[in-house]
Amino acid sequence: MNLYLRNITKQYEGNLVLNQLNLEFKEGKITCIMGPSGIGKTTLINIIMGLVKPDYGKIEGTEGRKISVVFQENRLCEGIGAVENVKMVCDKKVSELKIKQEFEEVGLLDYENKRTLELSGGMRRRVALVRAVMAESDIIIMDEPFKGLDEKLKGQVINYMKRKTRGKTLIIVTHNKEEVEALSADLIVLAPHDMI
């Protein structure tokens, strides 16, 4: 089922962030959202995840469907290992070995047992990515998922994501048009006319 946002309006302390926004995200497709900073991209994905309630409007297509996410700030449990962080959100059947194999695919070999606190920014980003991919979900939302990754790693991670998320609805916030092309994604550009 496609995901629809109908007349979504949201304001914070009198500032209108989203104004009667109507969007459609196709099931099983990758859709990228672009737009200048402060336009409400993060608010929009928070609304889809149910973390923020819109002042007006409704979302269709999320009922009963599982969502996983790559937050802008990773939001990993810092005191435990990378494997543990992923295992926490996975089905019981998913083994540690399977998670380690996933890490290997994004170049995280030999770091999987280190506490996330000890990992570099780029490594943490990849742990957050693997977590979102491995979690049981129908919709995956990613807020600037490739931030902090060099070009080579970015390519490796994009390939991994495309392979592993086939059939799932992906919503990705990005500032980079090349990423949209590499992902062969649909593009939604939030323009200032969506704001007042």
Binding site: M49, G50, L51, K66, I67, S68, V69, F71, E73, R75, C77, E78, G79, I80, E84, M88, V89, R131, A135
Partner: protein, 253 residues
């Protein structure tokens, strides 16, 4: 290597500081020049050596230790439980908070005298150490719970992380620093209040009773020796409790 050197230096200075204060103590006792008013370190060590040979010394330590630590552990259990319930229920929090503030503001002596009306003197130190620690644990654990990163709670909500895992991976790491510092403060208070309760209630075979007897028979060296014993047990029990908490924390995460 640099860290090791610093640690050795710190230890050296710590030992030097101890010797410095023992020297000051010796000097002060020489100036006062009356062992009955101000016992010298040597007299105290002699008294301590004499005490350790008596069975009543060890029995008193065991009884006092058991009761004070029991009061402390009970306070930890109830403090955590009330804090968790208060975190989940604002009405309960509003009901419990003034009670905790009242307990915290009440002088220890008032508690001891009041408690003597309610419980037998042999259990007085349990009640007093319990009451001293309860508000400290409650307040700190509740503060830790409120301090839990809301962004991590959002993450747990989106990923539908189960309650037990949420407690283990998000709440416990957030609360732990508050809990450890509350336990340290609480244990110190426990020993102060517990011994004070024993000195007033005079339960048989307790450190408080021994202190009181040393005082009425003007055995100042023994009074000093018992005080040293209390400080030593307090420090040791604090270290033990903190180590125990760390072990539990490592086991949980």
């Amino acid at each position: 290597m640099e860290g090791f050197k610093t640690a050795v230096h710190n230890k050296k200075y710590r030992i030097l500081a101890v010797f410095f204060w023992i020297a000051v103590w010796q000097l002060a006792s020489m100036l006062v020049n009356k062992e009955m008013l101000f016992a010298s370190p040597f007299a105290v060590i002699r008294a301590l050596a004499g005490l350790t040979g008596k069975g009543v010394f060890w029995i008193s330590i065991f009884h006092s230790f058991f009761k004070i630590v029991l009061g402390f552990l009970l306070a930890i259990a109830l403090g955590i439980l009330l804090a968790v319930l208060s975190y989940g229920n604002i009405v309960l929090k509003e009901i419990v908070t003034p009670l905790m503030k009242t307990i915290q503001a009440t002088p220890v002596a008032s508690f001891i005298i009041l408690a003597l009306l309610w419980v037998r003197s042999k259990n007085l130190s349990i009640l007093c150490s319990f009451l001293m620690t309860l508000p400290v644990i409650y307040t700190n654990v509740l503060q830790g719970l409120y301090g839990t990163d809301p962004k991590m709670l959002e993450m747990a909500a989106v990923f539908r992380i189960r309650r037990l895992k949420k407690i283990r991976y998000i709440f416990i790491p957030a609360v732990m620093p508050y809990f450890v510092s509350a336990s340290t403060v609480g244990l110190g208070l426990c020993w102060k209040a517990g011994i004070a309760a024993e000195v007033i209630g005079l339960p048989k075979f307790s450190i408080g009773e021994q202190l009181y007897e040393a005082k009425i028979y003007l055995m100042t060296e023994e009074l000093f020796a018992w005080t040293m014993v209390i400080i030593f047990i307090s420090v040791i029990s604090e270290k033990l409790i903190i180590r125990l908490i760390r072990i539990i924390q490592e086991g949980l995460t």
